[in-house]
Symmetry: C2
Subunit: 225 residues, 2 copies
DNA sequence: GATAACGAAATTGTTGACGATATTGTTCGG
DNA sequence: CCGAACAATATCGTCAACAATTTCGTTATC
């Protein structure tokens, strides 16, 4: 067998990659809840084959990120406000667990990094750079989850984030919520520095519940208007 | 509106049904960790087409229940002991959350049902009927999760159960573990009857952590032999 | 006897075509 | 002008055939 020419470089994306592309689109709010995902469009935009696109669809459907209806294709799943509440409560329990573990076994370097992130986020609030706050905040939560040493929980939490990512992003432009978050963070940081797992868990759970409360009130205000 | 499954007589199983069949096989320990899943075999045993089987594979891979390797097909994922620990810790946090919510808002009927289940499980230990204990135990946990009113958490927990179901099943034949579980259950029941969410959460978390401790010691004993 | 090279069989990856269904557009009658 | 029946298009579901790759048994060589 002589595979004559090096025809390798023209390799399309794999199903997993397409799924990640779709997830990214959803996080970036370029695909909004309820929007239909037409196979041909995805093929055009990603270069993948129809087969791979469908593979991606099934994976995302299993994650609960999209709906698959017979002969009607895929559409971005839209979470009800009650479901959003459930997402936040689940995250509170899981990230609380991680925060406790992190307080239990964080290294000196990790603690310093956490403190540094907290300081930089405070600067963001003063300087009015919410986009930077968002990425630092993601780093903050990732650091604690990875430091907790439970990759299963980390994956679960990531899946809980994606469906509400666009909502979360809005809150970064609300300076009152940011100030509240800063206070939450300092409480978490203090508990971690003191090596107090229970306090860290409690503070993290409160932090996330606060985030949901803010979101719920925002939604209620919009609904009344 | 929805012409579901039964109204289509001469049609093979859908992808979701095949996935559920595979899950059931894994839970029943008829498919053991590491075992390869050959497409043709699944087709023969379920009557589904190859296309549907692959659809099921991708769903299960997204759940993390099977591994999918290029040109090497699917195989039942085997969890390391460390991963099993992470499963149990995640479950402890999530089911603890549900137990708290359940204690907060369980109806009189639900409380009675919980008490009844506890009594019947005690009888199982005395009568030596571990299979029945297993199904009652499943009912117990399901009741608390559904009563908590968080279907998102319920789904997450179910996915955390499946990969360790065969291990869990073994423990039902250990009367010492069963007696320990009975005591855990009575503590949870008491907290629920008292309407004490924090105690209920704490007791549930302890219950599941105990379950893992037992499993870990069992594994250590086997490993030393 | 051990090892490497080879080839047949088994298994999975991919593509394209065709039927089934939903969606949209059009026409007709009132 | 409006609504209902009908036709055209778009989109999805399924399957069968083919290509690519691994796996495993066989043989040749040292």
């Amino acid at each position: 067998m002589t595979p004559p020419l090096s025809s390798l470089p023209t390799k399309g994306p794999t199903g997993t990659e397409i799924a990640e592309w779709i997830r990214a689109q959803i996080r970036a709010n370029r695909l909004v809840p309820g929007q239909r995902l037409v196979e041909v469009d995805i093929i055009r935009k990603t270069g993948g084959s129809r087969f791979k696109v469908r593979e991606a669809f099934h994976r995302l459907a299993a994650e609960g990120l999209i709906d698959l209806e017979e002969f009607r294709g895929a559409s971005v799943r839209e979470a009800s406000m009650d479901e959003v509440r459930q997402f936040y409560r689940a995250r509170a329990a899981l990230e609380g667990l991680c925060a406790g573990d992190f307080a239990r076994k964080a290294s000196k370097h990790e603690k310093e990094r956490l403190e540094s992130l907290a300081l930089r986020m405070e600067e963001c609030v003063e300087n009015g750079t919410p986009e930077l706050f968002g990425s630092l905040n993601a780093e903050w939560h990732t650091l604690i989850m990875q430091g907790g040493g439970n990759s299963v929980v980390e994956m679960l939490v990531k899946r809980l984030y994606t469906p509400v990512h666009h909502l979360l992003f809005e809150t970064f432009y609300r300076s009152d919520r940011l100030r509240e978050a800063i206070e939450d963070h300092s409480r978490i940081l203090e508990a971690v520095l003191n090596g107090d797992p229970e306090a860290a868990e409690k503070a993290m759970r409160a932090h996330i519940e606060n985030g949901h409360t803010f979101l719920a009130e925002l939604d209620r205000a919009v609904h009344h208007a």
